[in-house]
């Protein structure tokens, strides 16, 4: 066991797994767990397939920058759509009697009665979980390959260092999975629109971060800049809710929602 490779890979992978877990959790809580987990499983299978085919040459053959840009842009598109709807609900701009609102009201009543939610695979939930887990999983694979190969002083030592880095990454995955199981319960108690608003903020922030990296932007503070992005989008959304509420009053449009 090469401890320096294992610890470095553990710490670096932990950050990536936490990012993937955030998206999987919000999909699981807001849409359903079947979509979140099937998206995750499909991404893991794809990842295993890629690693099996390319091995350590993965770093050379998979265009990670292009992948970051594509996933980032798609997440921003999803995120802005969700954020827009949540802001409209908070400001009362979104009408009560649209099909979506009625469907959500039904879900809320079902939850209140303790009935289970429709458990079919939702394409949006599946795709969101799939893309996020695949991208973060690839980054972990890159970390393992980079740390594992760079720590080896000789060719014969490389198997040990690679294996140690892989063990570090697996330990990080297990730790994050356990944390996810513990957080899952309390998350379900958060009101519906607050959760949807959080999803919009998360998807937009992660999308901006990954899309920016794909375009070549080097964010200050590295992965910690995600927290800055979340703060910026939260402040912007709060300002937009206040603006829409004030404009709604001036134009006489009713403030109907939220019902929570």
């Amino acid at each position: 066991m090469e401890w320096s490779s294992a610890v470095s890979a553990f710490l670096a992978s932990l950050v990536e797994f936490v990012e993937a877990l955030t998206i999987v959790l919000v999909v699981g809580v807001t849409i359903n767990w079947k979509s979140a987990l099937s998206g995750t499983a499909a991404a893991l299978l794809t990842l295993v397939g890629l690693v099996a085919i390319f091995g350590t040459a993965l770093v050379t053959f998979v265009p990670i920058e292009a992948l970051r840009l594509i996933v980032g842009v798609i997440l921003v598109l999803f995120g802005l759509k969700w954020l827009k709807k949540a802001i409209m609900r908070y400001s009362g701009l979104k009408a009560l009697h649209d099909e979506e609102a009625i469907y959500e009201e039904e879900l809320r009543v079902m939850r209140a009665r303790g009935e289970s939610l429709p458990n079919r695979i939702d394409p949006f939930g599946f795709a969101t979980a799939f893309k996020s887990v695949l991208l973060e999983g690839l980054e972990v694979a890159f970390i393992v390959v980079t740390f594992g190969t760079s720590a080896a002083r000789t060719q014969s030592q490389q198997t040990t260092t690679l294996l140690s880095a892989a063990i570090g990454a697996v330990a990080a995955a297990l730790l994050v999975a356990v944390a996810g199981l513990l957080i899952r319960g309390p998350l379900t108690k958060i009101p519906e629109n607050t959760l949807k608003f959080s999803v919009g903020i998360m998807l937009t922030s992660f999308g901006t971060f990954w899309g920016g990296e794909g375009l070549g932007i080097e964010w200050p503070l590295a992965d910690l800049f995600l927290l800055v992005l979340i703060g910026i989008y939260l402040a912007l959304s709060a300002g937009l809710v206040a603006w829409l509420k004030a404009s709604g009053r001036t134009t006489g449009r009713s403030a109907a929602l939220p019902t929570e």
């Binding site: 920016g212 375009l215 932007i217 829409l244």
Partner: protein, 67 residues
């Protein structure tokens, strides 16, 4: 032809469903890509990306307010 249009509409609705968001995001990404390759203005590209996306959100909400 109708099938192709239907498929394209389905893909559009699945990913975004809003022309202002789609146009704003694509325009912002193109501007940032140009800045990233310009060299001199590269340091501002992160903020341009953020401002572009923020303006896109403001524009789509503004449209909803007016409609």
């Amino acid at each position: 032809m109708q099938t192709v249009t239907g498929v394209l509409k389905g893909v559009f609705n699945f990913f975004v469903g809003d022309w202002i968001i789609l146009g704003g995001v694509i325009f912002t990404v193109l501007i940032v890509a140009v800045l990233e390759n310009s060299g001199q203005l590269q340091q501002w590209s992160g903020w341009v990306l953020l401002v572009g996306l923020a303006l896109t959100l403001v524009a789509t909400l503004g449209r909803e307010l007016r409609s």
